[in-house]
């Protein structure tokens, strides 16, 4: 049989890299990165490589299922798609007729394929759409919003041309973003330098020229000290600041309390090293990238950490500079028409959001939403009842803190449905499982990628579904048709794509050559030019956001020393790894084999003081709660003694996942009350504000 190559888009993690897949006899034979995309050049990470085993695996939802027992009991009845869609539509219509469309909450992945789903939620008349950034990156988004007036999605990190890169709690070479990882390696090979700030040594820190082992929870003090040095030693770009920063004097006043010596006492990083870092960055300016972080839901001051990262970039003139953080171009910036949006078919909901965004928390405008705050509305019904929840490839019970409490919260719903391609803790608790075809077996709406070279990206179906699963456009279409939203129901993927492309000048066959259509041949580095205005009140970068101040919220804070954990107690710290994407991949046959369970990283000396040796299984417990479990330890000399690190997503409880079942420990179970512990200034959960005790068994 001849081998056919299909260009598509990976779906194993939120990065969504372009791929090419060899198909033979209707089966995927080999998968790699798209060789025609220069920044990818065929590369595909470990998770992406395991996409074919995911499709071949039988341990995923194979047909629509309706719950017959209690929630979470695992008693299911197989039903047809006709019945499933009718049931979902009926439940949604029922909730809508009793409480209004606002009573339906939709927890989505977000990202470049989400427009159709957002349109559906709009069509329901609900303002309550949430993206995964709500759990991961909301502090970063709000930090950018408060400084620049737009979200950080507007920035490109030009890691390839930067001369100095700082990765702060961003383990880029383990939580891999293929293009960024390669750009950075290219930059380093060309003489660029890397500094890594983390609570433990990683693959990423191993590639660094400078590694700062920081005391967990003190990143803000470090960043402010760097700002202090940049200002006091006049190392910053004064001309840039004069032109683009609204209130540099205010920053000077705030940073005064953060001498390198004061920061050293707090962070454990020597004052001389802090000064040397600031000086090195200044020398490389404006070709500097201080990474604003990926997973930023860490501490109650993570919003400040993200803001100071952006401020350092701004002080060095890197914001809007090549080799720094140029602005992403949209098709419209190049005089071209962008994709037609499904969301434009419906007016935005006018109701207040359940999570309080825009009214209870007036600083936050738009953005990914506060999923934790919205879920907390379910038991109270304040400001209004939230009675239906639909998740799309999201697993609140597996990802949000305190799943015990969340289970009781979800019990207050009249209807919980999950659109998902793999099992998840939430799907197991659902009333209805709508099985999504894995990404290799489904088409997605066309994605518009803004950037240095804006492009349209197409996810084509590689093979027919092995089981009775459907693509998202089919599921949305089926629901939309039953709920009176005919305009979102498309007869075929081609019709869907044609709607998006109409008037753009790009045709469907333009994707045949390489799966991606570049809207320009020349790179377009969005630089700050004369006449540019940031969409803030002042038109400039606001160190102290006018908008935040109006709402009575601080933009930055004073030095707040952190208490040190007692003996035998550690701060729980989290991070991704190269082999898994949260819990979505723990049951993948090949990835499970690579990493069947998580371990708890502890400092060797700190563990020795407790009589714990490497590889031993220990008991861990959350403070002031019943959350506890057992986990193997991995001892390292190069992790901060106050930190206990693990990879989240393990400790699964789902019987249909034979491989992942019971392996490792679910980190979110060690976060009692965690739904209410968050950064009020930035909106992000504070997942690393939890202490655990570790005991020898």
């Amino acid at each position: 049989m001849p081998v056919k190559t299909v260009y598509s888009v990976c779906g194993m993690c939120p990065v969504r890299c372009p791929i090419e897949v060899d198909i033979e006899n209707g089966e995927c034979r080999f998968i790699q990165g798209n060789r025609q995309v220069p920044s990818i050049g065929g590369a595909l990470c470990t998770r992406g490589g395991a996409g074919i085993p995911f499709v071949r695996d039988d341990e995923r939802p194979q047909f629509p299922m309706r719950r017959t027992g209690e929630r979470g009991e695992g008693r299911w009845q197989q039903i047809s798609w006709e019945e499933a869609l009718a049931l979902a539509a009926e439940k949604i219509a029922d909730v809508r007729s009793r409480h209004g469309g606002r009573s339906v909450l939709w927890a989505d992945t977000g990202g470049p394929f989400s427009d159709l789903r957002q349109a559906f939620v709009r069509g329901l008349g609900s303002p309550n759409y949430f993206s995964a950034e709500s759990v991961q990156g909301i502090n970063r988004q709000h930090a950018a919003l408060s400084l620049f007036g737009f979200s950080d999605e507007k920035f490109v990190l030009d890691l390839k041309h930067a001369r100095e890169v700082v990765l702060q709690a961003r383990n880029l070479f383990e939580s891999v973003h293929i293009q960024q990882a390669n750009d950075l390696l290219d930059g380093l090979a060309n003489g660029g330098r890397l500094s890594v700030i983390d609570t433990r040594a990683t693959v990423t820190s191993g590639k660094a020229d400078r590694f700062f082992l920081i005391r967990p929870g003190t990143d803000y003090a470090l960043n402010m000290a760097v700002i202090h040095v940049l200002l006091k030693q006049k190392l910053y770009d004064a001309a840039y600041a004069e032109k683009w920063i609204a209130d540099i004097e205010e920053l000077d006043r705030l940073a005064a309390g953060f001498s390198p010596q004061a920061a050293a006492a707090e962070t454990g990083i020597p004052a001389a090293d802090i000064e040397a870092l600031a000086q090195a960055l200044a020398k490389a300016a404006p070709k500097v990238v201080w990474h604003p972080g990926w997973r930023t839901s860490r501490y109650t001051d993570s919003f400040f950490v993200c803001r100071t990262a952006f401020i350092i970039n701004a002080l060095l003139g890197a914001v809007g500079a090549r080799g720094g953080l140029p602005l992403a171009a949209r098709p419209e910036d190049l005089g071209q028409k962008g994709l037609n949006r499904f969301s434009d078919l419906f007016p935005a909901a006018t109701e207040q959001r359940a999570d309080g965004v825009g009214w209870k928390y007036p600083a936050f405008v738009g953005g990914p939403g506060l999923l934790h705050a919205a879920l907390s509305v379910i038991p109270t019904g304040d400001p209004y009842p939230v009675k239906a929840c639909i998740t799309y490839q999201q697993d609140p019970l597996g990802e949000l803190p305190d799943p015990e409490k969340l289970t009781t919260i979800l019990a207050g719903l009249d209807f919980l449905a999950c659109v998902t391609s793999a099992w998840s803790e939430t799907a197991w608790h659902a009333d209805l499982v709508l099985p999504l075809s894995p990404y290799l077996e489904r088409e997605s709406p066309i994605a518009q990628l803004d950037g240095i070279k804006p492009a349209f990206l197409l996810r084509r179906r590689c093979t027919a579904p092995r089981f009775d699963t459907r693509a998202d456009w089919e599921i949305i279409g089926g629901l939309a048709r039953r709920l009176g939203m005919e305009s979102l129901a498309f007869a075929s993927a081609e019709d869907l794509w044609k709607f998006q492309l109409n008037g753009t000048g790009v045709k469907l066959q333009d994707f045949d050559a390489k799966g991606i259509v570049d809207l320009t041949s020349q790179p377009n580095y969005g630089l700050l030019a004369e006449g540019f205005r940031f969409p803030t009140d002042s038109g400039k970068i606001e160190v102290v956001s006018f908008h935040w101040r109006r709402q009575g919220l601080p933009s930055l804070g004073p030095l707040a020393p952190r208490a040190r954990p007692a003996a035998g107690t550690f701060r729980l710290t989290l991070g991704g790894c190269g082999l898994h994407d949260e819990g979505h991949t723990v049951n993948n046959p090949l990835l499970h084999r690579q990493m069947p369970e998580n371990v708890l990283w502890l400092n060797q000396a700190a563990a020795a003081a407790l009589g714990i040796s490497d590889g031993e299984t220990v008991a861990v417990a959350a403070q002031k709660s019943s959350g506890s479990g057992r986990i193997k330890v991995r001892l390292s000399k190069f992790i901060h003694p106050e930190a206990a690190f693990t990879v989240p997503g393990f400790g699964r409880t789902l019987p249909p996942e034979s491989r992942a079942l019971g392996r490792g420990l679910a980190a979110n179970r060690l976060m009692p009350g965690g739904l209410d512990i968050w950064d009020l200034n930035g909106g992000g959960l504070a997942l690393q504000e939890h202490m655990i005790t570790v005991c020898k068994l």
């Binding site: 034979r29 050049g41 590369a43 595909l44 470990t46 085993p53 090979a189 693959v203 191993g206 690579q594």
Partner: protein
């Protein structure tokens, strides 16, 4: 040795093990069978730096492969044209003599089929002008594959160009 060379650049390697997974997927191996394997250690202090170390171990495709010599059924074969050593599956009886004979323990026992699986340099892909799966999909292009003549041609071309540039400058 075979005519080809797979090089591993530890400066670019991020120890992600995508090479192992791409190999397993392409060769449809059982989950525990790894024809090509990446070994990692650390983080540990090496000289003045704390790093994670890695080494990639596909088959060496030895000049005089002991696995071929010891195979009683002729299932282990060295291709005459390029020196790639591979298993002819239909001839393998699963005696595992090759596993014992190989000084590097490259051949892998697949208990699901009762046969041996070994890195064959993805000779089917190489024949089509493609790179082996591990190289083709390597996350950071830390693995590279060279065909002797390609490399020679590239170097010769670069040299010729430099001479021409010199001449032009004269």
């Amino acid at each position: 040795m075979s005519k080809y060379l797979i090089r591993h650049d530890p400066q670019r390697c991020i120890s992600c093990k995508a090479c192992e997974v791409h190999c397993q997927v392409k060769n449809r191996t059982a989950a525990g069978v790894k024809p090509g394997a990446l070994f990692t250690a650390g983080p540990d202090r090496l000289l003045d730096k704390v790093q994670v170390l890695s080494a990639f171990r596909p088959c060496f495709h030895c000049e005089k492969p002991w696995c071929v010599a010891v195979c009683p059924t002729g299932a282990m074969v060295k291709r005459a044209e390029d020196g790639l050593v591979h298993v002819v599956r239909s001839l393998c009886v699963g005696c595992r003599a090759c596993v014992g004979a190989c000084p590097w323990k490259i051949p892998q026992w697949d208990e699901s089929t009762g046969r041996v699986v070994k890195c064959d340099g993805c000779f089917d892909r190489v024949t089509q002008g493609l790179h082996p799966a591990c190289v083709a999909g390597c996350t950071t292009h830390a693995l590279s594959f060279s065909r002797p003549n390609e490399n020679v041609r590239k170097v010769r071309l670069l040299y010729a160009k430099s001479v021409l540039v010199e001449k032009k400058a004269d």
